[in-house]
Symmetry: C2
Subunit: 347 residues, 2 copies
């Protein structure tokens, strides 16, 4: 009943040879019919017989055999560890779906692969087994030079890693988180705020975007000698927010960039519960979130938020296609999106 590997036998799928036999033609003819090369080579009658035979047998070409023969895979590997979603925000799933179907339209198969962040070389080896046409990693730390080298030697036409700079041979994907910080910082400074807190989420995996955001706020503040920037540790729990708010009087901050709308909501609620006034006026604490969720508009006061203007998924898919078709394109940096402040009543 079971074979030595513990698998039961599964009926062998029909092959092109079976179709050929049934249609009374050669395997090459079947191949032509299934690849649109039939015009001018295969007679109409033979074509019809081939299609009928395939239909009856339930024949479907075998992708592995095809790409083995072609020497080139059509897989685009998207490497994203479990904690990518928070980094890219709640819109990541939408982006992923759009990217996936855009790839499909271009004839690629998108494969999402979890990444063991601790061993980039092992991960690269696992990916290389699939002989992907392209590899996109979205996580930190980015692939190192040896991992990129391994992939390229395995025939991967394009390797894209998070920027700002990529290892030799890889293209950089830049979603410059420090820009989010710069925009938020500039907005608050323009509103006259000088003592600015920046939330650093305690949740793991978010440091990769939180740190550059903090750096961005600092960069914005560098132009204002009287401005001070304070990192604030905060976990996504009410207890953590309460602890932070308890320290608030001692901190003496007049503004806070809260990493994203969820942290902003948490902190704003805790500040309000403690009797602090939120908003743009004097004596109020300015609060800025990020992601510009519906949430931001529903809070009271309405939440000022840094919005990510992400590249359209199909544009990214087209970029990948271009790079795959011209593997010798010199590595460059490609922006994944930019940031913009949506000002509302909270700050």
């Amino acid at each position: 009943m079971t074979d030595p590997t513990g698998h039961e036998a599964v009926p062998t799928p029909p092959t092109s040879a079976a179709v050929a036999r049934r249609a009374g033609v050669s395997r090459a003819t079947v191949s032509y019919v299934f690849n649109g090369q039939a015009a001018g080579r295969v007679g109409a009658g033979a074509q019809a017989r081939v299609r009928a035979a395939a239909e009856e047998l339930g024949y479907v070409p075998h992708a592995a055999a095809r790409s083995l023969r072609a020497g080139r895979g059509r897989i685009v590997l998207l490497a994203a560890p479990a904690d990518t979603a928070p980094v890219f925000g709640p819109l990541f799933a939408d982006f992923l779906a759009g990217f996936q179907s855009a790839l499909h339209r271009l004839g690629y198969t998108g494969v999402l692969h979890g990444a063991p962040a601790d061993a980039p070389l092992d991960a690269a080896r696992a990916w290389a087994e699939l002989r992907p046409a392209a590899v996109l990693t979205l996580h930190d730390p980015p692939l190192d030079a040896s991992a990129v080298d391994l992939l390229k030697r395995a025939g991967t036409a394009a390797v894209l890693t998070p920027g700002p700079q990529a290892p030799p041979g890889a293209h950089a994907l830049l979603l410059d988180q420090s820009e989010a910080g710069r925009r938020a910082g500039a907005h608050l400074l323009a509103a006259g705020r000088r003592r600015i807190g920046v939330v650093l989420p305690a949740e793991p995996g978010l440091a990769a975007s939180a740190d550059p955001r903090l750096a961005g706020v600092r960069a914005a503040a560098a132009g204002h000698p009287d401005a001070a920037v304070h990192p604030l540790d905060l976990a996504l729990t009410e207890e953590s927010a309460a602890r932070l708010v308890a320290r608030w009087p001692a901190l003496g901050l007049d503004a806070v960039f809260a990493y994203n709308d969820a942290y902003a909501m948490l902190l704003m609620r805790a500040l309000q519960d403690a009797g602090h006034a939120i908003g743009t006026g004097p004596g109020r604490i300015a609060v800025v979130g990020a992601d510009d969720l519906l949430l931001a508009r529903l809070l009271r006061p309405r939440l000022t938020s840094v919005r990510t203007e992400a590249i359209a998924p199909d544009r990214l898919a087209h970029l990948v296609d271009t790079l795959v078709r011209a593997p010798s394109t010199p590595p460059a940096t490609h922006r994944l999106g930019t940031f913009r402040v949506v000002p509302r009543a909270s700050g």
Copy 2:
């Protein structure tokens, strides 16, 4: 520079033959070393030489060639269209990542594939080309009998589609959304509510879970002759919420099950802005959300929410593994999770 397909040449990846040549052994020996069959067959010296040669050349086995030879693929195909994320809630990305890495641990490669919902048979054909060991679809409408048949004839050991009932030969995956409705309805009825509104999101793709939720509330109300259930159309915009609230006095509802926490927040805010009191007391409107996000705890009043107790991703992965190893297992229904009301102040 470019070949006829518009692709530049990419350096050919090293093959096991190249490794064998470099190590001065046969290709069979290389294969043994890379598949753990080396013990008692290949001498220690030869093993070391093979590994060294592979390292130097950057050799990685070719998954397509391997599975072509093995006759059995290791791909688990997860078919999820763009609008799956809303159906499964914001936790879908986490679930996906966990499922993916659990599969990886079991030796499978998880592939996420967008589903052209309009042509299930075309989708099935595209999937069948990958000769997946298993196919899981998460979308509505589920695969029909002919699509399942095609996949099985292509050697797919296990096909899983959303329940409650699956086509012949396919297993059913049940996340019984009507249970969410029943739980919410029972909760509200037990609290004495009798005129219950149920939000039907206007956003496309959510009807698949919203309709059974409504049915669940109706089922719960069936035991109470004096109870009435009203469907309420609502889009995720403030304008839509304002329109709904304007009709509220005419509706005369004393409770609402708001589909999820986001819709609940939107509606609750609009009701409050219009002067309605939210909560459990008499004269107040009871509001129940779903998903039990952090959001629910931060709203005031705190939001009662229906929480999904989802199956652990690795349990689903193990289920898939089991079914793949025993393809003749009679089709059955497998629960993806259950629902539970988390009562708070809003209702």
